[in-house]
C-alpha cells in the first residue's frame, strides 16, 4: 500500500447514463479518509473536486484510473458539460492506465439500456456479448458489476492494481477474487437450501428463498454474503431474494417468483446438472427435519 508520502494514484470519476447509485454506495465506504490519503480524486461530478466538468475536455495528462459509473451512449446529444459524453470518455480512456466499470450499467448496459437499446451499452460488453461501444479498450478495462457495486469491491480492485496485482478476470471481465463466489455462498439460509425448505412466505427469517420466491443467489456471481453490505447485512440475510444484479443479463423480469417446469425450478444452481439436482433433492426431501421446520426464536407468537 502507498505510504502517505508516496505519490497518490490519480482518479477521474466520470458518469454516463446513471442513477448515481454507485456514488452513493461508494459513500458508504468505511475507510473513506484513509482512501483519500492513497488516492487523488481529480474529478468527481458530485463532490467539490479540483477539476470541474469543463476542465476535463482540456485535460491532457496521463492518469491512473478512469472510473465510469453508468452506461455509455453513442448518442452525441448526451453531453457532459459542453462535450458529448462519448467524446469525453474516449479522450480520457486514452490517457488512463486502467478503466474501471463501476456497476452493471458501465459493465453491460444495465437498466437504462432498455430505453435506448441501439445506443446504450457497457464499455466493452453489450449484455453478454463483446459489442460495447468502447470494446477496443478491453485490455485495460475491469468490470465491477452490481447494481450498485459494493464499495469494497471497487476499492479492493483499486488497491490491487495500485500494488501491481492484476486481478484474475472471468469471461465477463469480472475479478474472480470477488466474483468467482456465488451470492448464495455464505448465505445464512444455506442449511434450508440444502434440506429443500423454502420460507413459509416473505417476512420470515427461517427458510430459503430459492424454491418459491425467485432467489437468484445460486445463479449469481457476487460476494454479497462474504463481504456484507453496509458492513451489516445482505439481501438474502434480511429476507429479500437475490435479483442477480451482477450478471450481464440484469435486469431480468418476473422477479420474486420461481419459474418451474414440472415442479422443478427452470434455472438450477450454477453448474449443477439436472440429474445431480434431482438425485440430491429426492433424498433430502425424504427426510423431515424437525429443527428446520420450527421457528428459530418463538413458536408460540405467530401462527405457524
Amino acid at each position: 500500500m502507498h505510504s502517505p508520502t508516496a505519490q497518490k494514484a490519480k482518479i477521474i470519476w466520470l458518469q454516463g447514463v446513471t442513477c448515481n447509485g454507485n456514488t452513493h454506495s461508494f459513500l458508504n465506504y468505511e475507510g473513506f479518509e484513509r482512501f483519500f490519503q492513497r488516492y487523488d480524486l481529480l474529478y468527481h461530478p458530485l463532490f467539490d473536486t479540483e477539476l470541474g466538468i469543463n476542465d476535463l475536455s482540456k485535460f491532457e495528462e496521463n492518469f491512473d484510473f478512469l472510473i465510469l459509473e453508468g452506461a455509455v451512449t453513442g448518442n452525441e446529444e448526451f453531453k457532459r458539460g459542453k462535450t458529448s459524453f462519448a467524446k469525453l470518455f474516449e479522450k480520457l480512456a486514452k490517457k488512463a492506465r486502467y478503466i474501471l466499470a463501476a456497476g452493471s450499467c458501465a459493465s453491460y448496459g444495465g437498466v437504462f439500456k432498455e430505453y435506448d437499446p441501439e445506443n446504450i451499452t457497457g464499455i466493452v460488453f453489450d449484455k453478454e456479448s463483446k459489442r460495447g461501444i468502447f470494446k477496443e479498450y478491453e485490455n485495460k478495462t475491469v468490470n465491477i458489476p452490481g447494481c450498485p457495486l459494493h464499495p469494497e469491491w471497487l476499492i479492493t480492485v483499486l488497491d490491487m492494481l495500485s500494488i501491481g496485482k492484476m486481478p484474475h478476470l472471468d469471461e465477463y471481465l469480472r475479478p474472480k477474487e470477488l466474483y468467482a463466489y456465488l451470492a448464495h455462498d455464505g448465505c445464512i439460509r444455506n442449511e434450508y437450501f440444502e434440506w429443500k425448505i423454502d420460507v413459509k412466505d416473505f417476512g420470515y427469517k427461517e427458510g430459503c428463498l430459492y424454491y418459491e420466491h425467485g432467489c437468484r443467489g445460486p445463479m449469481t456471481h457476487a460476494s454479497c454474503n462474504k463481504i456484507l453490505w453496509n458492513s451489516v447485512s445482505s439481501k438474502t440475510m434480511a429476507g429479500m431474494p437475490c435479483i442477480g444484479c451482477t450478471e450481464p443479463d440484469f435486469p431480468k423480469t418476473e422477479l420474486f417468483e420461481t419459474k418451474k417446469y414440472m415442479s422443478i425450478p427452470a434455472e438450477l444452481p450454477f453448474g449443477i446438472p439436472k440429474r445431480a439436482y434431482l438425485t440430491v433433492t429426492g433424498i433430502t426431501k425424504a427426510f423431515k427435519i424437525d429443527r428446520l421446520e420450527k421457528r428459530l426464536i418463538d413458536d408460540s407468537k405467530r401462527d405457524n
Binding site: C19, S233, T253
Partner: protein, 435 residues
C-alpha cells in the same frame, strides 16, 4: 444578455440561463439535459418488477421510489376491490428506513453541497475544496452509520427492494433493533458535535436568537447570513404542498400558514420544449414541496419563527431541513424502541397480481418532497407508469409573469453566486427531475 451557467454537484447537471437587466437577474431558465426514459422501461414488464426498476430512478432517494411503487400497487389492489392489509409493524419498518434515507440525504446536502458554497460566499474566503476538509469526512461517517440502519432491515442501501404490496420481507430480531439504536446514537453524536452544539432535542425547542448564540455549523451559517444581509433572499410564492402521509403528519397545502386538504386528482403535468423536465401544477398553480413545506404543515416552532421573520427565504429553507433531520432522528428512535417484532411482517394479498387489472396511485414524502407514482396494469402487466418527482414541483419553468418556484426565488438577485445559493437551497436532483 443571456449568461449560461452549468451547475454541477446536484446528482447530475443542470444549466441555468440567466437574463440580466441593469445588472439584475430578470429571468432564468432551468434546463436539465439528461433523460433516461424510466417510465418506458417499466411499461410492458410484470408489475412486481417495478419494485426493482423504480429505485434505479435515483441513487440518493431510490428507497422512496420503492415505497411509492409499493403503495401504488397497494392502491391498485384496493381500487379493484381486492383486500390488502399491512401490519403496523410493516408500516413502522418502512417509516424507519424512509426516515433514514431522508436523514442521509440531508446530511449530504448540508455538508457536501451547502457547506462549501456558504464558505466561499463568506467574505475573503478562498475557494473551498471539501475533499481537503475534515467536515466532509465527519459527515460521510455519519452517512455510513445511518445507511447501516436501512441495510439491517432492507439488506442494503442503496437499491433494496425489500418492501412489497402486503408488507416487508425482513423479520428482524432484537439484535437488529439494538444495533440500529446504536448506529442512530452515533448520528445523534454527529449532530451535536457539528451541526448544533446543544444537540438534537435542544435544536427542536430553541428560538431564532438562541440558535444564533450557539456553536455549530447551522448557527454559523445563519449568523453569517445576517451579518452579510442575505438572510432574506430566495423568497418565492410562500405556498406549500405535501401529499405524503406518515405517523407525523397528514397531507395538505399551506397558504398563509393555514392548512387545507389536497387531492392528487388536481395534480397536472406539462411538457416543456427546451428541457426534459416536466412542469407540475396543483390546480394550475406552482407550489413548493419538501422539508420546508412539511415543517410548515407540522408547525415546527423554530421553522415557524424563521418563517415569521424571513418568510420562505433560502435561510428558512435551510433551517427547515436541519429541523427535519433532528425531528426524524427523534422519530426514528421512538419507532425503533416501540417496534412490535412479534407481529407479521407480511400478509400475502389474497389475489395474485397476475390476475388483476386496474390502476393505483402511490404517494410518499421523499427527501426533496412529495413523490407520486401512478401505475396501470392489465392482468399483472404494466400498461402505463407515471412518476412525478418532488424536484419537478420546485424547479418548473413558468412564464415571465408567473415563474416557477425556484425561478421566482432567483429573479431580482444581482449576484450569480447568491443565485446559485438560492437554487441549491431547494436541494436539486437532476436524475429525479428528468427520470
Amino acid at each position: 444578455m443571456i449568461v449560461k451557467e452549468i451547475i454541477e454537484r446536484i446528482e447530475g447537471e443542470a444549466e441555468l440561463d440567466f437574463t440580466y437587466k441593469n445588472g439584475i437577474i430578470e429571468n432564468v431558465k432551468i434546463k436539465f439535459p439528461h433523460f433516461r426514459g424510466m417510465e418506458h422501461i417499466i411499461e410492458g414488464k410484470s408489475a412486481m418488477d417495478a419494485l426493482v426498476i423504480t429505485p434505479r430512478v435515483c441513487g440518493i432517494c431510490g428507497h422512496a421510489h420503492l415505497i411509492a411503487a409499493t403503495r401504488a400497487m397497494e392502491d391498485l389492489y384496493k381500487n379493484s376491490s381486492n383486500d390488502i392489509e399491512i401490519t403496523k409493524k410493516a408500516s413502522d419498518i418502512r417509516e424507519i428506513t424512509l426516515n433514514c434515507e431522508i436523514i442521509q440525504n440531508h446530511i449530504k446536502w448540508f455538508y457536501f453541497v451547502m457547506y462549501p458554497l456558504i464558505r466561499s460566499i463568506q467574505k475573503g474566503s478562498q475557494e473551498f475544496i471539501s475533499l481537503k476538509n475534515k467536515k466532509f469526512f465527519e459527515a460521510q461517517k455519519a452517512v455510513v452509520q445511518i445507511s447501516k440502519i436501512i441495510a439491517l432491515f432492507g439488506g442494503q442501501w442503496p437499491h433494496t427492494s425489500y418492501a412489497l404490496p402486503g408488507g416487508v420481507m425482513c423479520d428482524p430480531t432484537y439484535v437488529e433493533i439494538v444495533q440500529a439504536l446504536s448506529f442512530l446514537d452515533e448520528v445523534y453524536g454527529f449532530f451535536e458535535k457539528n451541526i448544533f452544539s446543544d444537540g438534537v432535542e435542544a435544536f427542536l425547542s430553541c428560538s431564532n436568537s438562541e440558535l444564533i448564540s450557539k456553536d455549530g455549523d447551522i448557527s454559523l451559517f445563519v449568523k453569517n447570513a445576517y451579518e452579510q444581509s442575505y438572510e432574506k433572499i430566495g423568497r418565492s410564492y410562500d405556498r406549500f404542498i405535501v401529499f405524503g402521509e406518515n405517523s407525523l403528519f397528514k397531507s395538505g397545502k399551506v397558504l398563509t400558514t393555514i392548512v387545507y386538504p389536497v387531492k392528487t386528482k388536481y395534480v397536472t403535468e406539462k411538457t416543456q420544449t427546451f428541457t426534459y423536465s416536466k412542469n407540475v401544477y396543483y390546480k394550475d398553480k406552482f407550489y413548493e414541496t419538501g422539508p420546508l413545506a412539511r415543517q410548515m404543515l407540522l408547525k415546527q416552532p423554530l421553522v415557524r419563527e424563521f418563517h415569521r421573520k424571513l418568510k420562505d427565504s433560502a435561510i428558512t429553507r435551510i433551517v427547515a431541513r436541519v429541523a427535519e433531520t433532528a425531528l426524524l432522528l427523534q422519530k426514528t428512535r421512538d419507532l425503533l424502541k416501540c417496534l412490535d417484532i412479534d407481529a407479521p411482517s407480511y400478509i400475502r394479498p389474497k389475489k395474485n397480481i397476475h390476475k388483476i387489472s386496474g390502476s393505483g396511485i402511490g404517494v410518499v414524502e421523499a427527501a426533496r418532497g412529495s413523490l407520486i407514482h401512478k401505475i396501470e396494469i392489465k392482468e399483472g402487466l404494466v400498461k402505463k407508469y407515471e412518476i412525478i418527482t418532488p424536484t419537478q414541483w420546485n424547479l418548473g419553468n413558468g412564464t415571465k409573469k408567473c415563474p416557477g418556484v425556484a425561478q421566482k426565488a432567483m429573479i431580482g438577485l444581482k449576484d450569480k453566486k447568491l443565485a446559485e445559493f438560492v437554487f441549491r437551497s431547494f436541494d436539486i436532483c437532476s436524475v429525479c427531475t428528468t427520470h
